[in-house]
Symmetry: C2
Subunit: 340 residues, 2 copies
DNA sequence: TCGCAAATTGACAACGTTGTCAGCCATGAC
DNA sequence: GTCATGGCTGACAACGTTGTCAATTTGCGA
């Protein structure tokens, strides 16, 4: 039993190829009775249209690409799930494309991908989504794209996007720590190549300013979105003459490193030190104590991005949209221990 | 600049379409000088063959599918990376397909996927890879497949596979705990729908028997590959009249739950309780203390599976291959505290 | 009943590639 | 000089689908 083609369906339903095509593509102007017959034939033969032939002929594409370079499995899986949900709903395929965001020929690489695999467009995850030069190159190639980016507001830069207000979320976490009574709050940066890093820092900074908490350069350390940098950073902060009573790590992995460093230093979290993360990864629930963090609806965001891309391809009007993360309070934060 | 087709290349190189095709496909019987000319034209026009047209015409496929239903992001990402590495090397595409392993129409779903997207075959991750009924259905549809499975030895059941010796690895972990001096070792099962679970249990059991350590039913609890079941299971074990001095969780997530339960019970790991996991996920490095576990080269295994599948499609002889995990000793295990 | 527009249907070409097969040319043996 | 050989090349059809456009049918008012 070779797989059935549109030809077999046409023969069985006693109509022309084109009519079957019309039924499949839900074009109007097919008589109900004819449509019924064709649908029955499709059912009987278990026919499915061939995507290759379809996109070859129609010059439309039935798949989109998901481009990322992010070492965080939780994030990636969530993005994939979200994008897939949108794709399945719209009858699209999804082609994943992990890549090196610092590769010199990234634009060409992506163009080849789109061309060879006949992709209708790309969803770009950070940090690719924030490289204006790359975006311009892709636009020059006429590749439709939607970005997932970190921004306090709609960037209005002409490239459609779904944006996440990292700044606001970081503000909320910092404000929460201040309200608990913390006055010396350490901040550990994420990777500089991610726009979310400065955004999160700005939120931290603004909260301190708004609440009149003195800033201190020694409490802010640069680093990467990694456990190791969290560990190292925390060790340095805890070694200060006047160490912080709370540390805000720019993501959960950093915060995990902070937890480890605190334990290594014999400190009891949250009583000797409060720790906050960012992301609400499963780790933040499974660590001990579980982490106060900021929940990003990554899956929803990615789904929305994919939906936006498909709408754009279909020629619809595309409205950027913002998502605000939400504070999640767990066991790793508490009021500071009163000074002896 | 519309993307170049084989036609443009032919014109530029002043040869026929077919000759260009020959050059692209590395067929012999093209004069060196002609080949040069064609290659130059390809270079100049930046031509890339269109995969849709190619697979449409040649009835060969240039992509494979990766089928999984596994809630563990670390595992999935590793599998994806491995499969992608093989695909890129061989000029194949990869289509990911997360699905519900208990879905009633899974075989039909996968057949449609293969058919619609013209996939050359499927790599099946656990637990799909262990459902004989599913395998037989797919075979009846003539879908080439390679499985990643848990087995102590080549299953010789006619379905090609890459197998991982979970039993042996669990034996190694248990033996290590026994050598440290533990005589009461708790065991927390993973999900029954995964064949790796009984395999790991068998390794545990065999080690106890070989070393003459008495078995005890109360030390063995069923559950799922989850943090919560690890937490609950550990709480029950620690509440026994004679609690275990070590607990072996069937994966790192379970072990993470055990760590949390131990901490909640005021126990100090590893001095009051040794904990071992399985998988060497990043969590096992980042927890405190870091976990003794078993390293599976998931990425390599998946890469090998994809390579095997592609070789099979090309008609090559296919040899199953086994991978042995490796014991990784970290801070969560120590000799038991001497009885007071 | 006829005429005409609208609704419905079908014939055919085309998308970009590769398989088939035939043709050309140089070579070397007779 | 003829003929077979083998290396190289090209013309053409075909893969399964949809776009174009023309043909046919239907519905309906006159």
């Amino acid at each position: 039993m070779g797989t059935a083609t549109i030809r077999d369906v046409a023969r069985q339903a006693k109509v022309s190829l084109k009519t079957v095509s019309r039924v499949i593509n839900r074009e109007s102007s097919v008589r109900d009775e004819t449509r019924e017959r064709v649908l029955r034939a499709i059912e009987q033969l278990d026919y499915r249209p061939d995507l290759s032939a379809r996109s070859l002929r129609s010059a439309k594409a039935y798949a989109i690409g998901l481009v990322y370079d992010n070492p965080n499995p939780y994030y990636i899986i969530a993005v994939q799930q979200g994008a897939l949900a949108a794709c399945r709903e719209m009858g699209f395929g999804l082609q994943i494309h992990p890549c090196d965001s610092r590769g010199p020929k990234l634009a060409e690489e992506l163009r080849d991908l789109v061309h060879r695999s006949r992709l209708a467009g790309l969803v770009l995850a950070p940090p690719m989504s924030e490289r204006m030069a790359l975006l311009r190159e892709l636009a020059a190639y006429n590749i439709p794209l939607v970005r997932v980016i970190s921004a306090a507001e709609d960037p209005h830069d002409g490239f459609p996007c779904v944006f996440v207000d990292d700044r606001d979320a970081a503000y909320a976490i910092t404000a929460y720590l201040i309200q608990l009574g913390h006055l010396r709050i350490g901040f550990l940066w994420g990777g500089k190549q991610h726009r979310s890093s400065p955004e999160r820092y700005k939120g931290y900074e603004k909260a301190l300013r708004d609440y009149g908490v003195p800033m201190s350069d020694e409490l802010v350390l640069e680093g990467d979105y990694s456990f190791d940098d969290g560990f190292r950073g925390a060790r340095r902060l805890l070694g200060l003459a006047e160490p912080p009573t709370a540390i805000f790590g720019s993501n959960d992995e950093i915060a995990a490193g902070v937890l480890a460093a605190a334990r290594a230093a014999g400190l009891h979290v949250p009583y000797d030190l409060s720790v906050a993360g960012f992301e609400d990864s499963p780790f933040s629930r499974h660590s001990w104590p579980s982490l106060t963090t900021s929940r990003q609806r990554t899956e929803l965001i990615a789904e929305h991005a994919a939906r936006l891309l498909i709408a754009q391809i279909h020629g619809g009007d595309v409205e950027n949209e913002g998502f605000s993360p939400e504070l999640v309070v767990r066991g790793s934060t508490a009021p500071p221990r009163p000074k002896a």
